[in-house]
Symmetry: C2
Subunit: 246 residues, 2 copies
Amino acid sequence: MHNKGKIYVIGLGPGSREHMSKRALDAILDSEVVIGYKTYIHLIKDLLDEKEVIDSGMKKEVERCNLTIDKALEGKRVCIISSGDAGVYGMAGIMLEVKYERNADVEIEIIPGITAASAAASVLGAPMMHDFAVISLSDLLTDWKLIKKRIECAAKGDFIIALYNPKSKGRVYQIEEAREIIMKYKEKDTPVGIVRNAKRDGEEVIITDLENMLKYNIDMLTVVIIGNSKTYVKNGKMITPRGYQL
Amino acid sequence: MHNKGKIYVIGLGPGSREHMSKRALDAILDSEVVIGYKTYIHLIKDLLDEKEVIDSGMKKEVERCNLTIDKALEGKRVCIISSGDAGVYGMAGIMLEVKYERNADVEIEIIPGITAASAAASVLGAPMMHDFAVISLSDLLTDWKLIKKRIECAAKGDFIIALYNPKSKGRVYQIEEAREIIMKYKEKDTPVGIVRNAKRDGEEVIITDLENMLKYNIDMLTVVIIGNSKTYVKNGKMITPRGYQL
């Protein structure tokens, strides 16, 4: 049926089947080869019968993309998966970069997903109803000075701020510095939502404030959402008003 | 089977069935009453057999939420729909606000969707692989001075910037002023993606730059994505590198 290979770059969304798009599901089912970091492969293990599965460790992104191209050039339909939206700190960019670097003649379809901030917001209430900034605190590939500048600009602009990759085992001080910078511009009682495993097994939700946020468990599976100056907490939900008159 | 009403606040994603989550689809099917702005109702018209459908005009958000509460208090399962993610400039916030204002004892489930920036990014290539700011240019509910300040902060921080509601028939100068502010900080050849009807019927994609962006059609169905200082265009795709070494 198919003569030519094809690459699907798929964002699974939060990870549960319920919040995956039909297009993402169909693309996985259509694929002969599935490539991804092992945590993500595990999320879709019931879909993988009779498929070639290549799971890899973290920090192997370029290798994974090269392998994806190799398989597609063999004429196979290949999907490369990650969680959230493939277009937000995901595999979409590096996949295109590797394709162009190799001048490979393969079709790439990027399939968007629900990004972690959207998933986290939905369980917190409605914290992202107004302008927001998404910032990754990982300084693995980005100079920490630039990240700090962005945090400062976002706080100064009274943006709602969603922090991705806030803390890992080996990277602990960034969330502390980020909070210090933000506290120069936002009140200490500004609501903060801390969501771990949003919309998937093991979901944990904390609503606290800037002053107290560091008392809670924050790790790489966590998204932190800090409100703007209008954000409030009511009945255990975090709400940023859009500005409607009730 | 059901004795108590329930409210689903649903983000449909871009609008096509393919990019809706399973949870959103199941919630629509489960609902006895579907409420929404008529454009969104139209997107799911094939799912509405034997349901009570209440479509309303724009700018009736509070009325729509009150009606949703009324129906749920009658014991019905009701969904209130909008496009994109209900938690990003969507109906989630005002729905919770109206519920708490009325002290209504009804369950609300907020179902996230793929927000417009993610859909637009996926057709442009991979412009949002790094820190980004989402800003609505609608000054209907927000002071234009605050919006301008946010644009300035986002540009200064070298964020990728996604502009929602960039222009309407009656609101035309904001995109021009936004561009002027951004050009103080970003080079005039910074890539700009203009996507109309991303991932649904009538999709139109333009890749241009800050200098030339106003030459193209921009309206309320359009999302504008402006790159950061590293964003480039290659083979007709807009790419912001995450920083991997190829």
